[in-house]
């Protein structure tokens, strides 16, 4: 087990910059999730750690060793691929033991390790099967088993759950997390699914367009997103954004409504007021922000209300049941300290927030 240090790492394909100088310190035993929209460079970064992509600039260290020029096979890293990459002409047992056989480990040692890993992953019954006789979830487990037997320094996961159906994905998510708690192997996990990131990570790295937007624990990202991108990306449904101007401790919306806010900023500055749908509540006394209901979507556990405020869309989630009709005006309030304030021009969070 080992830390991973990434210092000023760049990637260019010809004239195209894919990564613009990434700095990231992954601590020993930590489970770090790289998350971002497709094309943000997260998979490229993972493949560079693995040694499957060359590095155009900067350094990658595993432990204290610079591995820029170390080929993949000598990095002592295990990886779980998106499409599992199981060797189709080998049985499950052969798949899992391949790396150990390459190392010329003693036969009985290999056997013990493979059976141990199979036991952990519930694969003992399938060791003689070929990959094509397995279900998607079982293939996924074999791919993990192949990594497990290795006692590698670092585990890499490249969107390992994206080929599973929604139910199985939730199960495997929990299994991977439990496995990490048991083995404590340093892990880097790539996904585009923010819920996966939130539920699994010790720390999340949010990436966008070849840059890191924010690094933090799941709750840090949820509570204090550094900018509009992170605020929008983390949380579901997404945070509501209301654009307005800062005036004497309040955000003034185009229709003149005033939202109390205590951000640092010049008077008249264009700002974005952010509030998460689950933090909105219904005002009983007719005060609060007026919103016109457009669509109501019950999910069973809660209802999601899509409404309009000063011409801007807004979503609210209520756990209690309400009987709203389209066209109806409702009044919304939120607890102190739950609102966010961002600079409209730069997208950065304005210190002090709003309330």
């Amino acid at each position: 087990m080992s830390s991973v240090t990434i210092r000023g790492v760049k990637k260019k394909y010809g004239a195209m910059d894919v990564l613009h100088g990434i700095d990231l310190q992954i601590r020993d035993r930590e489970f770090v999730v790289l998350v971002g929209p497709s094309g943000c460079g997260k998979s490229t970064l993972l493949r560079m750690i693995a040694g499957l992509e060359t590095i155009s600039g900067g350094d990658i260290l595993i432990g204290n060793r610079v591995v820029n020029d170390v080929p993949a096979k000598a990095r002592d890293i295990a990886m779980v691929f998106q499409n599992y990459a199981l060797y189709p002409h080998m049985s499950v047992y052969e798949n899992m033991s391949f790396s150990l056989r390459l190392k010329r480990m003693a036969k009985d040692m290999i056997d013990r390790k493979v059976r141990e890993a199979a036991e952990i992953l519930n694969l003992s019954k399938f060791l003689e099967r070929s990959p094509r006789q397995l279900s998607g979830g079982q293939r996924q487990r074999v791919a993990m088993g192949r990594a497990l037997v290795r006692d590698a320094q670092v585990f890499l996961f490249d969107e390992p759950l994206s080929n599973l159906d929604a139910k199985l994905r939730v199960v495997m998510r929990t299994e991977i997390k439990a496995l990490h708690q048991r083995l404590q192997t340093t892990s880097v996990y790539v996904t585009h699914d923010q819920i996966e990131a939130m539920t699994m990570a010790d720390r999340i790295v949010v990436m966008n367009a070849g840059k890191i937007e924010q690094i933090g624990t799941p709750l840090e990202l949820y509570d204090t997103p550094a900018n509009l991108f992170v605020a929008d990306f983390i949380g579901s449904p997404s945070m509501n954004f209301l654009r307005g101007k800062l005036e004497q401790g309040a955000v003034v919306l185009p229709d003149g409504s005033r939202l109390a806010a205590s951000g640092q900023g010049a008077a008249g500055q264009a700002v974005v007021f952010g509030i998460r749908p689950e933090h909105l509540a219904l005002a009983t006394d007719g005060t609060g922000l007026a919103a016109e209901v457009e669509v109501v979507e019950p999910t069973g556990a809660n209802i999601q209300v899509y409404a309009r405020v000063a011409g801007m869309p807004l979503c609210a989630v209520f756990t209690e049941r309400h009987d709203f009709r389209p066209g109806q005006t409702i009044h919304l309030i939120w607890p102190e300290g739950k609102a966010h304030l961002f600079d409209d021009a730069t997208g950065h969070r304005l210190q002090g927030g709003a309330n």
């Binding site: 693995a50 993949a72 096979k73 990886m79 691929f81 060797y87 189709p88 002409h89 391949f98």
Partner: protein, 276 residues
Amino acid sequence: MTGKLKRSLIYWAILSPLMVVILFPFGVMFVTAVRPRAELFTYPPTWGFSEFRWENFSEMWVKTNFGGALLNSLYVSVAATAVALLLSIPAAYAMSRYRFAGKGAYRTFLLMTQMMSPIVLVLGLFRLMMSLGLVNDLNSLVLTYAAFNMAFTIWMLQSYFNSIPRDLEEAAWMDGASHLTSLVRIFLPLAVPAMVVTAIFTFINSWNEFVLALTMMRSSEDFTLPVQIYAQVAGRYQVEWHHVMAATVLATVPVAIVFSWLQRYLIRGMALGAVK
């Protein structure tokens, strides 16, 4: 179900004239190959004959030096296939797995060589082989067949290689395998079926080639089967047609059976990219 039955009947009815014409030469071949010599030129001509004369085949084998030509054809086809595959496998692998400068130009070059026909170059090829001292040497055919088939074999192999996921090799590297190990233990075992199919088509192409064999092989002991059979027909005052047909049966039927068994791979290969 009845809809499918009706459709089947209509389709077979539409296809039957074409099938009759396709099968007609095979009928001619068999019927002539087994009839007694005296019944070759009966008048009026007829399909019927008095007895099956299987001795025609053994007579033909001796008289036409079928065995010698068969060995020549086998040698040329096997060697040409081996050379073509040996050179094509690395090239197809490079085309399938690497990005490199000049890839587009190389692709175009392959397409052009695929289109170049031996007949247009036959005079130049003859002069080349002459200067190399390879006229009347079966190896001249080995080299030319390998060269003319290579575009096809590279296409075919590349389209199959593309269907072997790249991440299998990457997974092997992560498992600690060198490039060579991953090639030998992961990639090649998976590519075997593609290589076998490609090899068989190259073999058949070489087996059937006529123009170059006719040109390069000037003495009869070097003839390959198509040339040998042609020589039994061309410029002769009296053609022993029952022997010629017996030879044709022996030379074509095994190849036709193998080909029929493999033709679906050809369709698949074409759909995968050889033509697309």
